[in-house]
């Protein structure tokens, strides 16, 4: 059970972190990425093409045209300004979080994030 002093210190840290430029930019970029109709359309198209690709690969009927179509959608998706903004914002956020984690871990004597992160499944 987390005691109140610890929770208050965590809340203060969250408040400052949450108001930083990098976190705000990430939240805006994430919101755009999740709500942009063109991105949503491309994601659906990619999912359909990818599942058809796997099915054809399994049957041995995959053509160069199938590969090209999938690559084109992937390329367009990756180059879309909303995707680019989101990817950049995520990278910047990760760097900020790693720096904060470094500052916390330095005082603890072990890696805070590695210890506190949810257990990964393979």
């Amino acid at each position: 059970m987390v005691d109140i002093r610890l929770k208050l210190a965590a809340d203060e840290f969250i408040r400052y972190l949450g108001s930083s430029t990098d976190v705000k930019e990430f939240q805006i970029a994430k919101g755009q990425f999740e709500n942009d109709p063109a991105i949503e359309k491309m994601r659906r198209e990619y999912t359909t093409l990818a599942s058809a690709y796997q099915e054809k690969e399994r049957r041995g009927t995959l053509t160069q045209d199938d590969i090209s179509k999938l690559r084109t959608v992937q390329k367009t998706f990756n180059a879309h300004p909303v995707t680019v903004r989101y990817a950049r914002a995520q990278q910047t956020l990760i760097m900020l979080l790693q720096d904060c984690n470094g500052a916390i871990s330095e005082d603890l004597g072990f890696d805070f994030a590695a210890t506190a992160a949810p257990t990964a499944s393979c």
């Binding site: 969250i14 984690n101 890696d111 805070f112």
Partner: protein, 132 residues
């Protein structure tokens, strides 16, 4: 791990200070203090260190045998025996209990932070590592 000086150049001072106050609150928590005390006892107890080392060796041997496709019955017995001896030791038991306790607190804190921030702080900040 980066030094404070390197971090200071990149993180806003108030965020950095808040992260330091957060770290200090963890360090001063009863759970962390118990873990520190248990770690100190383990460092001062060569017999407990030996039991831990025996267990780790038995564990490595069994994993190696398994990766070679062997049927490590003997190794499994040895590992089980090493584990029993390790858990019967008060210093080690206390160390593992306090470790579980602090890990639990840190995970709870991360859940709280994740809920408030809208992203998994520790999941994103942890060092990249291989799976399994």
């Amino acid at each position: 791990m980066q030094s404070t000086n390197q971090i200071e150049e990149k993180v806003e001072p108030r965020t950095l200070e808040a992260s330091k106050r957060f770290a200090r609150a963890i360090v001063e928590s009863p759970q962390f203090q118990r873990f520190e005390e248990a770690s100190r006892r383990l460092r001062d107890d060569p017999a407990a260190q030996q039991l831990l080392s025996d267990f780790q060796q038995a564990q490595q041997l069994q994993q190696m045998m398994q990766s070679w496709g062997g049927t490590p019955t003997q190794e499994a017995e040895r590992l089980d025996q090493a584990k029993q001896q390790m858990l019967a030791n008060a210093t080690l038991r206390q160390y593992f209990e306090s470790q579980d306790e602090i890990v639990l607190i840190l995970k709870e804190l991360n859940v709280h932070m994740t809920e408030k921030l809208g992203f998994d702080f520790a999941g994103l900040a942890k060092p990249a590592g291989g799976c399994c």
